[in-house]
């Protein structure tokens, strides 16, 4: 990664400036051609270095709801349960973690009142207890990975 690429990636993780000519502003800041910067972002998206470029909303403030939940899935059923959750549109993220509670997933729904029924549905189709870990207080959310 060149020094310019590194600077651009770090700068864009913190955000595009909300000014009338954001790419022009970024070009001046990084002493680079704004068009080249946009092309670089486009390449990163194609490459999969970036998973998204755009507005990041606090979905709870724009009418969505989330929760984190976990299950202790018996090893021999892990793949089958993984497939069951894969089919549910409400499951946005799912990670295997090394613990007795070995499946951790995030539900993302447009209406908070559907969280509980969705968790109940997952318990019903898997026959496993779902531990719900709704956020009670948030201290920080900004993933910044300097390169």
């Amino acid at each position: 990664m060149t020094e310019l690429q590194r600077q651009l990636l770090n700068r864009l993780q913190r955000g595009l400036p909300l000014v009338s000519d954001p790419w022009g502003e970024l070009g001046r800041e990084l002493n680079a051609d704004p068009l080249a910067l946009r092309e670089q972002v486009s390449l990163w998206l194609e490459d999969g270095i970036l998973t998204r470029f755009g507005p990041l909303f606090d979905v709870e403030r724009i009418g969505g709801a989330f929760t984190l939940a976990a299950m202790a899935v018996p090893e021999e059923r892990f793949e089958a349960v993984h497939q069951q959750l894969l089919e549910l549109p409400e499951v946005a993220h799912n990670y295997r973690r090394e613990h007795r509670l070995n499946m951790w997933f995030v539900l993302a729904v447009s209406d908070a009142s559907t969280i509980e029924p969705t968790l109940a549905h997952i318990e019903a189709i898997t026959g496993l207890r779902v531990f719900n870990f709704p956020k009670q207080r948030e201290f920080h959310v900004q993933l910044y990975l300097p390169v």
């Binding site: 955000g15 909300l18 270095i49 909303f57 946005a92 295997r96 559907t114 870990f133 207080r137």
Partner: protein, 179 residues
């Protein structure tokens, strides 16, 4: 929500969210492009974004890296058992550390789960991850009664955090209700 900041048009905001679900087009004048779709001017679009940001509905317009591709292949969900009266102070301390990307208070499920503070760590090696956890432990000292770190070993699903409207699981629709 604060009434001291400029309110924004909720319907326009909802359309903005829909419009940018797949991201912001990489055009020279992105606010003008958005404004055209929304039927408002470039300046009004920028004002909408700024108002949403002021009220916390928009965090930022930014790049989201695939952390695996940047070399951050190790993530650990550290979990801590902190006295309820200490959570506010400890949570703020953890959140201020550079390696902590997310920090939340969440409910305990006793006796299975005694932890009430979750802090996510990201590192480029397992050793670095363990060192970060040790730093947190040292910082918390006796404020933490017990802790654990759950490392992720596989991504099973990762889509954009976009609320699903596909759900037909209504609160009343109790046919699947599990106790």
């Amino acid at each position: 929500m604060s009434s001291s900041t400029c309110p924004y048009n909720a319907e326009l905001a909802a359309r903005l969210v829909e419009l940018t679900a797949a991201g912001l087009p990489l055009v020279a004048q992105p606010w003008a492009w958005l404004g055209e779709q929304l039927g408002i001017s470039e300046a009004e679009t920028l004002a909408l974004l700024q108002a949403m940001q002021a009220q916390g509905a928009l965090r930022r317009v930014a790049a989201v890296p695939n952390h695996y591709r940047l070399g951050y292949q190790h993530n650990g969900m550290t979990v801590w058992d902190i006295a309820d009266s200490e959570v506010e102070r400890i949570g703020a301390q953890l959140a201020a550390l550079p390696n902590v990307s997310h920090c939340y208070q969440r409910p305990r499920h006793l006796p299975d789960w005694p932890y009430n503070v979750f802090a996510m760590l990201h590192a480029t090696s397992r050793e670095a991850l363990d060192a970060q956890r040790a730093e947190l432990q040292a910082l918390l000292g006796s404020a933490c009664r017990q802790s654990d770190m759950l490392v992720s070993s596989r991504i099973l699903k990762k889509t954009g955090l976009r609320p699903s409207r596909a759900s037909n699981r209504t609160p009343q629709g109790g046919s699947h209700a599990a106790s």
